[in-house]
Amino acid sequence: MNNFWLIAKHEYKRIVFRRAFLLITLAVPLGFAALIGLIAFIKESEKSEPLPIGYVDYTGLIEHSRYPVSDEGMTPIIEFGDETAALDALHREEIQALFILPDTYPAAPQTELYYLENPPGGSAWRDFNFFISLNLLTPYPEAVRHRLIEGGIITVHDVVSGREFSENGTINIVFPFIASFIFFASTMMASGYMIEIVADEKENRMLEMMLTAVSPGQLIGGKAIGLLAATLTQLTAHILILAVGLFIATPYIPTLQQLIIPWDYIGVMALFFLPAYALITAIMIAVSGVFPDSEQAQQIAGILNLLFILPLFSVVLIFENSGSPLVIFLSLFPTTAFLTISLRWGVGTVPLWQIGSSWLILITKTGLMLWMAVKLFRVGMLRYGQRLTLKGALTALRN
């Protein structure tokens, strides 16, 4: 096997079989999934036949038969002829609440509500409102009645991209935000690992020996690929666990049922992920080559990571005006492009020319950074305990 791939394979195994890696990859998302499963289980097991709502109608407008009692999950509603019987039922806890509709209703909109300790739960109240609406809207045509009861559904069509945004599909707006954080967390973790990997080589004093077997480019490239494979393994595990979680939770969370997998978004993010990852990796390699130990390198890396997470501080601006000049700038700037475009995707469209330009700029910058990183690494790698000065770095880049 070619040395490059030997190093990649070795590095992959070294990372993936670490306890900390296994913990973050499996235990954390499984823990979340177990928590969601537990909540869903508790919710399911707590489901019991709700206590009925009682009502006394003095208006004469309410027809009890209009209520769709056969619909699953609807709160039963009982009509009482008089208040005394109804209040007795309430005290006996045969009903959870009692509505009294006075004869002035609905001209005077007030009604009376009686309950023992707690007012009726959200679905019970909603079901009773629905029942009253069904009765009061009887004179109207069915289509109007339906529209008034169900409410309007607003769908926004983007004439440029053809995308649709609907209040029923809120999850499709939130999804890119969640995906951004997942992708980004993986990349940031990878940057920390990269510093550790290079620092390890320096601190273990292995570099000089290794360089009689491999070139600096092969060594650091192999390690970066090994790390990338580990990052993708972690991402895949997280995505699989998320998919399983969605599959389990969707029947219990109606919002999730509106989710449509945004394949175009995933395609664009896949296009940006590798160059963005390579850019972060290259920067970390350069930092590790310049600074003599991992502590110093991590400190500098922490500052440089801000260049990548800048879009997170601009989320409000992206949300309110995703086409503003600053947001466009962030979409084109190499370190912020990945996250900005991902966040923009949730709330709007990103013009094709911006995606294309951003990607080309990112690729170019990444290539340049990789070239610089290997040079700085080559010169700085044998400076045990010594920092590479600015002059030394510039000389290394010139040579």
Binding site: L6, D200, R205, M209, M210, L382, G392
Partner: protein, 300 residues
């Protein structure tokens, strides 16, 4: 064909001329000593040989030409700044390093068993490197250098951290490798090891090779620059004596350049209370030669 040919190497780092003019050759089937004070340019020279640095001037030929991947695989290199992956187990680490040198994993595993047994590390093969003592780690590093059966072995301070028993073992292994036709370049400050093992040496000082050739010849050339003396009396501050030390009851004195041993003998004879039992011209030790040359008391 020489295994290594180094001709008029030079290398500068900023304002520092690390190597000014170094030349030597190393033949197959010999142990070649590379000596020099700290900061002389030995490590830089070795790194240029290993293609870690490019020389500013001069030529290097390893196995007859420029180093490529195939040739690098024939080299076993143990630098002065060395180590192993501390958080990894010994056996997989050594096999990994051997496979990077192009060795088949199965063969590496078989050979490794033999080496571990020889260095008494068999029971530690599944231990993490950080769990081994410094001496054990040193031995493991030597195994890493030899495991892939290199034709050229370059080791900086091979005996560092080794107890006398293991130092003797390493010495024996070097002799075996030499007898098997391998070329060994050994950089060390332990002169007695150089005298015991090396056929030829190069002494580098201030980036230049100042002494080069067969050890015996060099010592013969410097004979007359030292005397061995046994007796009683005051042997301090003898004119013409550069340095003196007592060993096993005898005084070993290194002489200044131009000092006449006969004049010293006559001086001692004139001193009251001095009794000479033995006075002979000594072949200087490499240690003495090193000190003389590097301190500038002797021109080469």
């Amino acid at each position: 064909m020489n295994t290594v040919n180094v001709s008029h190497l030079a290398k500068r780092f900023g304002d520092v001329q690390a190597v000014a003019d170094v030349s030597f050759a190393v033949e197959p089937g010999e142990i070649f000593g590379m000596l020099g004070p700290n900061g002389a340019g030995k490590t830089t020279t070795i790194r240029m040989m290993m293609d870690i640095f490019r020389p500013d001037a001069g030529e290097i030929a390893v196995f007859g030409g420029q180093l490529d991947l195939a040739k690098k695989r024939r080299i076993g290199y143990l630098p002065e700044e060395r180590g192993l992956y501390k958080d990894q187990k010994l056996e997989p680490t050594l096999i990994y390093l051997a496979t990077l040198k192009g060795m088949d994993e199965k063969i590496a595993r078989q050979r490794l068993s033999g080496w571990l047994e020889r260095f008494d590390l068999t029971e530690y093969r599944q231990k993490k490197v950080q769990e081994l003592s410094k001496g054990m780690q040193q031995k493991a590093q030597i195994i890493a250098t030899l495991l892939h059966d290199p034709d050229l072995i370059v080791i900086d301070e091979p005996f560092s951290g080794l107890d006398p028993i293991n130092a003797r073992l390493v010495k024996k292994i070097f002799e075996e490798q030499r007898d098997a036709g391998k070329a060994i370049i050994m950089s060390t400050h332990q002169m007695y090891q150089v005298e015991a093992l090396c056929n030829r040496i190069v002494l580098i000082d201030n980036g230049r090779s100042v002494l080069y050739g067969l050890v015996n010849e060099i010592k013969r050339n410097f004979a007359g620059n030292a005397i061995t003396l046994e007796g009683e009396g005051d042997f301090d501050a003898i004119p013409g004596v550069l340095e003196q030390r007592k060993h096993n009851g005898a005084w070993h004195m290194a002489l200044e350049l131009g000092a006449d041993p006969q004049a010293i003998f006559r001086h001692l004879g004139r001193q009251n209370g001095t009794r000479i039992e033995r006075f002979e011209l000594a072949e200087p030790s490499l240690d003495d030669i090193f000190v003389n040359v590097v301190s500038g008391k002797v021109q080469t």
